[in-house]
């Protein structure tokens, strides 16, 4: 009888983390930026049909990188959770924090359970507050950890290069066009020499405080993105 190989828990977790990180780094990046009227999401995504940025609820937006089927699954779960909460309590009782917590629990338990492979995804969950100071952005990683994003952030792809680029370019109170511009420029900084990503290859959406409707999520058309980049 042969003894099973001993693998230390540290090594096991490290292997799982490496696996997830490699998967996430293979894709393109998504940037999130707080601007004057709300929160901006910009993703490099040539596909018109397969989205990386989505509406979850009235004031909650979602952006993801990594494996499409996994984050799509999480997106739908988030919409179901939000709609169920809003239906059984009230629309005001659906919060970004609650959603981020549910995602964290889900990703965390999948990551540490031996039975399932870890999800190769990272998510941004953003919630528009009443005032700009109340806007919240959460970054969730494959292992279920949650971090607050203060002003702007990038995940996926070569975010080690693109995120510092965005952070350096960021200033408080940006208008929408400038915010789109710095996000698009920083997403192109993943290789040397820097690339220029065309408007057609960008997926752009905002949570816009100035919208009069209760649902604040709005996609920005390719033409408007092109105008902002010009």
């Amino acid at each position: 009888m042969t003894a099973p190989f001993y693998v230390s828990p540290e090594q096991l977790m490290k292997d799982r983390a490496d696996y997830a990180r490699k998967g996430i780094a293979r894709g393109r990046s998504v940037a999130v930026v707080k601007y004057a009227d709300g929160v901006l999401f910009v993703a490099e995504n040539p596909s018109r049909g397969l989205h990386k940025i989505s509406e979850i609820y009235d004031r909650i937006g979602f952006a993801a990188v990594g494996r499409y089927n996994e984050f799509e699954n999480l997106r739908i779960a988030g919409v179901r959770l939000a709609d169920m909460r809003g239906y059984s309590y009230d629309r005001k009782d659906v919060t970004g924090r609650g959603l981020a917590n549910a995602y964290a629990q889900t990703l965390g338990s999948i990551f540490s359970s031996g039975g399932e492979k870890p999800f190769e995804v990272e998510l941004f969950v953003a919630e528009l507050g009443e005032d700009p100071a109340d806007d919240q952005i959460y970054r969730l990683t494959y292992d279920g950890s949650v971090a607050d994003v203060e002003t702007c952030g990038v995940m996926g792809g070569s975010s080690d290069k693109t995120e510092p680029e965005l952070t350096n370019a960021y200033t408080a109170g940006l208008d929408l066009a400038s915010a789109i511009r710095i996000a698009a420029t920083s997403l192109g900084a993943d290789i040397e020499p820097k690339r220029t990503i065309s408007a057609a290859d960008l997926e752009v959406a905002v949570l816009d405080r100035n919208r009069t409707q209760p649902r604040k999520f709005r996609r920005i058309s390719a033409a408007d993105v092109a105008a902002a980049l010009a």
Partner: protein, 271 residues
């Protein structure tokens, strides 16, 4: 909480289907009561009419419980989404819950599929929700909605009526449901023209509600003392818009003033 089971399962884009697997107790149809019929709050008359480029829906503000006026300012016309609205007659508590569920159903589909349902698709979903309430309808707790939508693909306003079994029936020009509907429909029959403008159609539905209130005790007319007027909503290519109380009041004032000299309202030509 961890999202698992029904949340992560590959399912349909329907919120109702999701609730049915995850938590069926939240569905209005899960609560069929036993025992004899009880007295509940009833919403009364809803009217709708199409006009050139859209559709208008209006409801009186009265809710009754037996012979008592339960509420003088109830809201019975609700937006369902950007291009459709629902007016409800029947048991108020269940009607409001079904409307809320219908609103979530449309928004849920839109978010999951990233496209809106067709107008017929929306009407069919509402029919299914009404049919699911059949058990309660047989206990005397019936809900009869009227559904109006602007169809962006054809550019016209459309009206759908339902019975308690969810039988869907598209009305071409105008329709009414609720206790005063017989009188409102008779009134609209004489006032309706196919080439009406929005303002004319709104005046016509307010006339129809006045006639319903004139002959049906459960329908409330314009309450001049409390300044409570019918709720009017229009849907055009610009989307859903509810008239402000001030807008409705000015139209209702004209209608009421004319009735002072002609209590039966405008007369249609004999031939």
């Amino acid at each position: 909480m961890r999202l698992d089971g029904a949340f992560l399962s590959v399912g349909s884009s329907s919120f109702v289907d999701f609730l049915a697997t995850h938590d069926p107790t939240l569905l209005p149809s899960a609560k069929v009561p036993e025992g004899a019929a009880i007295e509940t709050t009833h919403g009364t008359t809803i009217v709708a009419a199409t006009f050139d480029g859209g559709v208008v829906m209006a409801g009186d503000r009265r809710a009754t419980m037996g012979n008592v006026i339960a509420q003088r300012d109830i809201q019975k016309v609700f937006p369902a989404d950007e291009f459709s609205c629902v007016g409800i007659a029947g048991t108020a508590g269940i009607a409001v819950e079904i409307t809320r569920l219908f609103q979530v159903e449309l928004e849920h589909y839109e978010k999951i599929e990233r496209t809106v349902l067709s107008t017929d698709g929306k009407a069919n979903r509402l029919a299914a929700l009404i049919r699911a309430n059949l058990g309660m309808a047989m206990q005397g707790l019936a809900v009869v909605p009227l559904f109006a939508a602007f169809d962006p693909s054809s550019g016209v306003g459309r009206i759908f009526a339902f019975d308690v079994t969810g039988n869907k029936n598209e009305e071409r020009s105008f329709h009414s449901v609720g206790s005063g509907s017989t009188f409102a429909r008779g009134s609209l029959k004489k006032l309706y023209r196919h080439d009406m403008t929005e303002a004319e159609a709104v005046t016509a539905v307010i006339q129809a509600l006045y006639d319903a209130a004139d002959d049906d005790t459960a329908t409330g007319g314009p309450d001049l003392a409390r300044r409570i007027f019918p709720l009017v909503s229009v849907i055009t290519s610009e989307g859903y818009r509810a008239y402000t109380p001030a807008e409705t009041e000015s139209i209702a004032n004209v209608v009421v003033a004319a009735r002072m000299s002609q209590p039966n309202g405008p007369a249609a030509p004999l031939t």
